[in-house]
């Protein structure tokens, strides 16, 4: 039985390269390269693996800006069949993002909506629940394993203390963790072919209503002593002294 999956992905700035202005603590986000968000890759990988096993189609959906075409190309290279970028993204606003994506998802027949459980940059972890609620579909979240059978999906959900195996009927929403798989690095051939696929874009007409005001967004100041010894013979007595004082 073929399985049709809508996979949600996001483009973010490369946070590993993010530095803060040493005098003000302001993050220097200008001119940083953009990349496909970490958990989005896990979601794409899982969706493509299910398709490879069961047949069906993977539809990639992104709420972002015009710049997200590179992310969509990467999603194509990983095995996404068809894709759409909804433009008009302004800032981290899970309520608006969920609404924009859910309204589009409603128009696309699917068995599964798949996404990451928490994006690497904003870490809100709200999107899966919000989208499931708007769609009225069951939510199987924080998956470390997904098996799809006729008309249902079985998922191992990781909580802080347990791994729960649970089942629900399709259509449903699944959020995945970083541990679920190792996203593939697409071969050059696939990257070249992906470049020829259409980059579909449409602008959203849904505006944000949240009245969140940012007061500040600064790198926390480190007040550590930073006494680093390159000669262990000198470092060991100092460190030993500090540890002994602390455990007294």
């Amino acid at each position: 039985m073929p399985v049709n999956i809508i996979v949600l992905f996001k483009q973010i700035i490369d946070i590993d390269l993010l530095k803060a202005d040493p005098s003000t603590g302001s993050p220097l986000v200008q001119n940083l390269p953009l990349r496909l968000e970490t958990l989005s890759k896990n979601a794409i990988e899982e969706a493509v693996r299910i398709k490879e096993k069961k047949g069906g189609k993977v539809y990639g959906l992104c709420f972002g800006t015009e710049k997200a075409s590179s992310a969509l190309k990467e999603a194509y290279a990983m095995g996404v069949d068809e894709g759409l970028i909804i433009t008009g993204y302004e800032r981290n606003d899970p309520t608006r993002t969920a609404k924009v994506l859910a309204e589009k998802i409603k128009t696309i027949p699917h068995d599964i909506v798949m996404m990451g459980n928490q994006s690497a940059e904003s870490y809100t972890g709200l999107l899966a629940g919000k989208i499931a609620k708007i769609l009225g579909e069951p939510l199987l979240s924080n998956a470390i394993k997904v098996d799809v059978e006729e008309g249902k999906a079985r998922v191992v959900m990781a909580t802080e203390s347990e791994n729960l195996t649970a089942e629900a009927a399709t259509p449903l929403v699944i959020s995945v963790t970083q541990e679920i798989n190792e996203p593939r690095l697409p071969p050059v051939m696939q990257i070249l072919q992906a470049g020829k696929k259409p980059i579909n874009m449409e602008a959203t007409s849904i505006s944000g209503s949240s009245e969140v005001q940012v007061i500040s967004n600064l790198a926390p100041k480190s007040e550590r002593k930073k006494l680093v010894f390159e000669d262990p013979e000198k470092g060991i007595p100092e460190v030993s002294k500090a540890i002994r004082e602390a455990i007294k």
Binding site: L126, L218, V228
Partner: protein
């Protein structure tokens, strides 16, 4: 109202709020009677093992009945989903993963990490649902004990097939005074025993970075320190072979003294350390144990 599926976190949030506001607590954790000793008025115990959907349905009923001003939810895998479902049900905004808050003229000012832990974001909003990062406060018991009411779980579209406990049951990193934490630099699982003498010498707990606990499973998941794991604040945090990715730093930033041993002089962990030694941890650790034991 405070909800958490992890009792310890529910207790932390109740303690954090005590003195600021009256709270009722909802728990799907293991021991509602323990939660009752920590500052909550009414404790609603959700029976059985539940999924976010049924938990949110129960909380929605309580919210309709009692009209709470704020709903604080432990930021756990289940808690975040419950917050999201409730926010759509109630039309309330959510402030996520907060580490602190204050109210100001009908608005709530919250603090949280952003950009994967690289910045602290302070926001003012009208959010009424707040997911709270673990480790924000010490549990404070109260003289008055709350009343526990059990709540049956509503019908669910999700069927539980099985559950596997993955806690070692022996470790509580959030309460540990000394933590020895290992990263990729440990190389292989067999090498972990080489740092045990240090753990014993400092009477500490062993912890690990995300790859050690979640990718390689060399340590149990409840020993993971980081943005996605435990947020710890020991008197001493000893980082061995940990490069110091920002996601890890976000979990140990509250430590009083940080010691780092790493062979890479440029490792970012040294920027977050009070004392650092550049070198091979397998050579340094035995010498350090010797020095600690002999009082040098």
């Amino acid at each position: 109202m405070v909800f958490s599926d992890v009792d310890d976190l529910g207790i932390q949030i109740n303690s954090f709020l005590s003195g600021t506001m009256e709270t009722d607590s909802v728990t799907s954790g293991k021991d509602p009677y323990r939660v009752a000793k920590y500052c909550a008025g009414n404790i609603y115990a959700l029976k059985g093992r539940q999924f976010p959907e049924s938990i949110a349905a129960s909380i929605l009923e309580l919210q309709k009945k009692n009209d709470y001003d704020y709903i604080f939810i432990g930021s756990t895998a289940i808690g975040r989903d419950v917050a999201a479902l409730l926010s759509e049900d109630l039309g309330f905004e959510v402030a996520s993963e907060i580490t602190g808050f204050r109210t100001e003229g009908g608005r709530i000012i919250t603090r949280r990490f952003f950009y994967g832990g690289k910045t602290v974001l302070e926001e003012s909003s009208t959010a009424k649902i707040l997911t709270v990062m673990p480790g924000i406060s010490e549990p404070k018991s109260s003289a008055k004990e709350g009343t526990v009411t059990e709540i049956e779980s509503p019908a669910s579209r999700i069927t539980l097939i099985g559950a596997e406990d993955k806690t070692s049951g022996a470790v509580d990193l959030e309460k540990a005074g000394i933590i020895v934490s290992i990263g990729r630099g440990i190389g292989k699982q067999e090498n972990i025993e080489k740092v045990n003498p240090l753990v014993e010498a400092v009477r500490g707990e062993l912890a690990g970075s995300r790859p050690i606990c979640l990718d390689y499973h060399w340590l149990s998941e409840d020993r993971q320190v980081g943005l996605s794991g435990k947020k710890v604040r020991p008197r001493v945090y000893i980082a061995l072979g940990i490069s110091g990715q920002i996601q890890h730093i976000a979990g140990m930033r509250g430590s009083k003294t940080v010691v780092a041993i790493n062979k890479d002089k440029a490792a970012p962990i040294f920027e977050e350390a009070d004392y650092g030694i550049v070198g091979d941890l397998f050579q340094i650790v035995p010498k350090l144990v010797e020095a600690i034991k002999s009082g040098q």
